[in-house]
Amino acid sequence: MRSIPWNRLRGRNNEGVLVLSIIAFSIAVGISTPSFWGWPTLLDLGTNSLINLVFAMGVLLVIVSGGIDVSFMAIGIFSGYAVIILPNATGFGADYAVVGFATAALIGLGLGLLNAIAIAGLRIPTLIATLGTQGIIRGAMLLWVGSKVIPHYPAGLDRLGNDYLVTVHSGAAATRLSVLIIPAAVICVLVGLLLRYTMIGRSIYAIGGDEESARRAGIPVTGIKVFIYVFVGVLAGIAGMMHVTRVGLANPYELVGGELDVIAAVVLGGASIFGGSGSVTGTVLGVVLITLVKNSLILLGVPSTWQRFAVGLLLLVGITAQALSARLRRRGPALAPGVAA
């Protein structure tokens, strides 16, 4: 029997299953609302998922290493909001969007260092450490950076927020694909290369697989952990900046609270919460599936109040499938030698 092609189609992290789910869901929505087919849906999907995609890349690194992070949204909004406030107050970096993004990444790096100290230095369990830093970062932003919504943008960022790669007109409505999809895609590719082809990337998998084994194999566990949380901070800073740029209103109360959508996407994408497995492809598909479901509920005539429920249900189905298949796999090899003997 040739079972290999099926396994390859399914993918190492169930990427195939995700692709199938996305196709099946699209067909179901397409049948009930034919207007689903068309460029607007695709462009909306791109624009709506690009920010969570960048956040998800950071969360992927953390989950692959066996941790969990709930502070990335706080880092994101802190960085984005601070960059908008800074030029308004000082006139610094007003004209170039690149300067804004670099500053946001730098702020994210600093805040990520906070996580690195708590997790790699003080060895606090990751969920508890990031819950703590989430409170500190968000509180510090609202207390010392600002708590008002800011509508005035420096010229460079204002322009970038209204730059579109593609615009499709259908009747009076126009659907656009934000140009920010390009940096988002570049980041995904870079994280993919990092995870697959560099020592650091392989070390992250090794730590997630078994930290003690990784240490005995000579991997600098503490150093790698510092890298992970600092890098995740940088990614979160950039993603927060993208969010602020795209929305066109810097609102410090946004983003925090949306962590679960991103974590759900990464877990759906096949990353194991125990660490050691997960892929960029799977994560991208997970983000796409969640965004698609959220977008399409309205098309299907389901009130938007059901969005949260739908994402939760999706997450539940995903983790149940993972748990069951893990149990089957554990049973499989244990029986095989006995049968052979």
């Binding site: 819950l131 409170g135 109040t305 059901w306 983790i319």
Partner: protein, 356 residues
């Protein structure tokens, strides 16, 4: 050193967490009593009592799951589901305008129904964790999302009003100047203590958390233990939900969302190990009161709510960080102490040797 004082010192050392908490509470009390002249009054303590009960109940719920080495993130959603069941029940029966006899009857019935709904949520968590063997973090993350989603969809995101006075008394009344929520909290804490310390299943809860492998090899079936843990946790959460609804005179899917971080801070500050196995009800209740004093004190000196949020995060990281550091570097010190004692025992010096 006489034997008696040594035993007292030993006792204090073994209850180090509790002693540290009481000391911290006294410092907080002293600071705010000095800084403000309204802090050390009966009224301010009554206000604190009304506020502390719901979050202390949620903390007890988190403690139970942490004892087994897991965590229950869904408590906040469970609380709001219980509150919504009660509120929707009142709205459907027009209880706010009912006669006092009928209103009382409805109050009892819908509180029971709300708690029952909470227990049902706990059963779902138990099924996912004990039967399907999903990691507690993920399982409760999903139910947190789903239950919150059900709440939002059920209410359409709107706050539900209309509650009879009999129900409002639960969260706002006094018995001999003591707020009723505090009495509910103390009752629930006592029962939780009995459950954890005096019942067989409670002992198993701690065993599963302290060493799951050893528990399994001792023939302990974790399924029932995990079911009991998550049902009890959900029950405590739904009691908190009922109090929240009664105090707010309304219910909404979003109430109490900020309590999750606070509950975990309280539990950890109360000396519960996030890795499972260790923790006391007294510690958790004490730490809830200490943090409530910090919150009320911050309010009185007009610090913003965001400053309290920062304080929560700093306390959480400082407490756990200190714990892991003392474990790492304190181990060597402790083993040296033990060795010197053993040497003393071997040479027959009765003043430093301790019989087991």
């Amino acid at each position: 050193m006489s034997d008696l004082t040594e035993r007292a010192v030993q006792r204090l050392l073994s209850e180090r967490d509790l002693v540290a908490l009481v000391a911290m509470g006294l410092v907080v009390l002293a600071v705010f009593s000095l800084v403000t002249d309204t802090f050390l009054t009966v009224i301010s303590f009554q206000v604190m009592g009304f506020q502390v009960a719901e979050v202390a109940l949620l903390s007890l719920a988190v403690m139970l799951s942490m004892l087994t080495g897991g965590i229950d993130l869904s408590i906040v959603s469970v609380a709001s589901i219980a509150a919504l069941v009660v509120a929707k029940g009142f709205a459907a029966t027009n209880a706010a305008t009912a006669g006092s006899g009928r209103a009382l009857w409805l109050t009892v019935a819908f509180i029971a129904l709300g708690l029952l709904a909470g227990v049902a949520c706990g059963l779902v968590n138990g099924f996912l964790i004990a039967k399907l063997r999903i990691t507690p973090i993920l399982a409760t993350l999903a139910t947190l999302q789903i239950l919150n989603g059900i709440g939002i969809a059920w209410t359409g995101g709107v706050t539900v009003y209309g509650m009879p006075n009999q129900f409002l008394n639960v969260g706002g009344g006094y018995v001999y100047h003591v707020p009723i929520p505090v009495l509910i909290l103390l009752g629930a804490a006592f029962l939780t203590g009995v459950f954890v310390n005096r019942t067989g299943i409670g002992l198993r809860v701690r065993l599963v958390g302290a060493n799951p492998t050893a528990a399994r090899y001792s023939g302990l079936n974790p399924t029932r233990v995990l079911y009991a843990t998550y049902v009890a946790s959900a029950l405590l959460a739904s009691i908190a939900g009922v109090i929240i609804a009664s105090r707010a005179a309304s219910a909404s899917a979003d109430y109490g969302a900020s309590y999750l971080l606070l509950a975990i801070v309280i539990v950890v500050l109360g000396g519960v190990s996030p890795l499972g196995g260790y923790g006391t009800v007294t510690g958790v209740v004490l730490s809830a009161f200490v943090l409530q004093m910090v919150s009320t004190g911050f309010n009185m000196v007009e610090f913003s709510a965001f400053a309290y949020q920062i304080a929560q995060g700093v306390i959480l990281i400082a407490v756990i960080g200190l714990n892991t550091l003392t474990q790492r570097y304190g181990g060597a010190w402790r083993s040296r102490l033990l060795r010197s004692r053993r040497r003393a025992a071997a040479t027959g010096d009765p003043s430093t040797a301790r019989t087991q």
